[in-house]
């Protein structure tokens, strides 16, 4: 290990080296980013080509439609205003469920982990609830909360809640004990420890789980619309598939996938902005 001594005076030669390294690094990063974009584009095009020409060879071509037709269908649905109406219903349900799930998950995690034994009491139940296939609950929620948006929000919130709770609790419990000991001797109060040590330490887990769960919220809303509803993307797809309107089924699926991809990209960008000390990397 070398000790970088601060306040060195740089010679011209050293400055030139630094400059060159900085330029090389920038160019290297640009090239890497371009490669990722290129790879993504190639893969996307390959998938579309397979769909257009290959999928019909594997399954009954009557039920696969093709990208051109689906794109046209999306255009029609957009023009009619129908698509945006369904999309906004689904996003509204998913958004509400997401917010409720995240807030409830965070609060529960802090409450449960504030005492070690407390978490141990709840853990088996959390695991049990977590592992229930949520789709089994969808018909129940419809019976309990009716056909409106409530059961969709509940489903979305539920999917989000457990993931945020378990991830946050793991993050909170995983703080290095050494940090606590040192800070306690430094004079930290219980509140100081929570606000300045525990919560920041859990931030990576929390942020990662939030990113993962936004897609789960959409999944929850769509899944629940699929079971019984009168509006939303899930309804659009379910209705079309009952009518064997395959182009519309695919149009709905493509829109859902696109929304999830965009949301994921936005949240990922937010994540690296929120965690400069993490070097922008989050394991989750």
């Amino acid at each position: 290990m070398t000790l970088t001594e601060p306040a060195v005076r740089h010679t011209d030669r050293a400055r030139a080296v630094l400059h060159r390294v900085a330029t090389d690094e920038r160019r290297h990063r640009q090239r890497q980013r371009a490669l990722v974009w290129l790879g993504t584009a190639v893969l996307g095009i390959a998938l579309l080509l397979f769909w257009q020409f290959g999928l019909g060879l594997l399954v009954n071509p009557r039920y696969v439609s093709d990208p051109a037709t689906v794109l046209a269908r999306i255009g029609e649905l957009l023009a009619g205003g129908e698509l945006l109406a369904h999309l906004s219903v689904t996003l509204g349900e998913a958004g509400a469920g997401f917010l409720i799930g995240v807030v409830a998950g965070l609060v529960s995690a802090v409450a449960l982990t504030s005492s070690r034994r407390g978490y141990e009491v709840f853990e088996p139940f959390l695991v049990a609830f977590y592992s229930i296939p949520k789709i089994a609950l969808a018909p129940l929620f419809i019976l309990w909360f009716g056909l409106g948006t409530t059961p969709k929000i509940v489903m979305a919130a539920l999917l989000v809640y457990f993931i945020v709770l378990v991830n946050t609790a793991t993050g909170l419990r995983g703080v290095q004990p050494g940090l606590f000991r040192v800070c306690r001797v430094f004079g930290a109060s219980r509140r100081d420890l929570l606000v300045k040590v525990t919560l920041p330490a859990a931030v990576p887990a929390v942020v990662a789980s939030i990113r993962i769960t936004f897609t789960r919220a959409i999944e929850g809303a769509v899944l629940s619309e699929f079971v019984a509803s009168t509006q939303g993307l899930g309804y659009l797809v379910a209705r079309a598939s009952r009518a064997f309107d395959i182009a519309t089924v695919f149009a709905g699926i493509v829109v859902i996938a696109a929304v999830v991809m965009v949301a994921n990209g936005l949240l990922r960008a937010l994540e690296s902005r929120l965690l400069p000390w993490h070097g922008g990397r989050v394991h989750g």
Partner: protein, 269 residues
């Protein structure tokens, strides 16, 4: 020198201290970590604790920091028994324990924040120490952007910044390479001369113990007890880079090593 032990100036006192731990591995059977530990440290004295691994050195520091309580006997700080977490001492561990989400400056100011020191004063006190250890210019760097030696300096000054009268150091230079260690020993001595706190310093490195200490306590193998104590008569200020040449160094080193080797043999059996 330093022969009288005056009760009024004793900064740290271990009075027949025992500590037993109940470990989960042994079906709840308690195991003795400290057995009748007795010693004192005067105000401004630099005392090193050496002994085989597992002999209870860290436990001694934890007792004084109030992170653990003695099973029997009394641990006192400035004449009164330690009760609860002792925020009047400074504690430096082997891991630097810097908060990864705070810059160097944020880390050095942390303890002052906990203590409600106003912003301006925090800034000034942190800056003084940051400059003193040559970290000026790195204030806004995060720990992962600093070298091991720089993180270690940060870890030390963030504890010294609140000027406690007693500083506990548990193998602070353990994971560092040999050169960096010596550089940091010199810097530690510089920092110590600045405010002259009492230091309890745990180390495995006998050369380090001699270079830094007024007194060295050798512990027996587990369960730990003070086996022997040595006074280091090398005059100050000392130069850790040339401590080998100091008069009496070789004899002291050999004596310490003989003591420890006997204990390690004991522990290995």
């Amino acid at each position: 020198m330093h022969q009288t032990t005056d009760a009024t100036t004793s900064a740290v006192g271990f009075d027949h201290v025992f500590k037993a731990f109940v470990s989960q591995g042994r079906r709840g059977e308690p195991v003795l970590a400290l057995q009748d530990v007795a010693f004192e440290a005067r105000a401004g004295e630099f005392v090193s604790l050496v002994g085989p691994s597992g002999c209870g050195k860290s436990t001694c520091l934890n007792l004084l920091a109030g992170l653990d309580t003695p099973s029997d006997g009394t641990v006192s700080h400035r004449g009164s028994p330690v009760r609860g977490v002792n925020t009047a001492v400074g504690y430096i561990t082997q891991d630097d324990n810097l908060l990864p989400w705070r810059s160097l400056r944020g880390n050095v100011e942390l303890s002052l924040e906990f203590r409600g020191v106003p912003r301006r004063e925090r800034r000034e006190r942190a800056q003084e120490l940051i400059d003193l250890v040559g970290l000026g210019g790195f204030e806004e760097h995060y720990p992962h952007e600093l070298s091991g030696g720089m993180r270690k300096r940060g870890g030390i000054i963030r504890t010294l910044v609140y000027d406690s009268d007693v500083v506990l150091m548990d193998e602070p230079f353990g994971p560092l390479d040999a050169q960096t260690r010596v550089i940091l020993q010199a810097e530690l001595l510089k920092l110590w001369h600045r405010a002259r706190p009492t230091v309890l310093f745990v180390t495995h490195d006998l050369v380090e113990a001699i270079a830094l200490s007024d007194r060295i306590l050798v512990f027996t193998a587990n369960p730990g007890r003070v086996k022997r104590e040595y006074t280091v008569d090398i005059p100050r200020p000392r130069d850790p880079f040339h401590i080998h040449d100091a008069p009496g160094f070789a004899e002291l080193y050999d004596a310490l090593w003989d003591d420890i080797r006997a204990e390690i043999g004991q522990a290995a059996r």
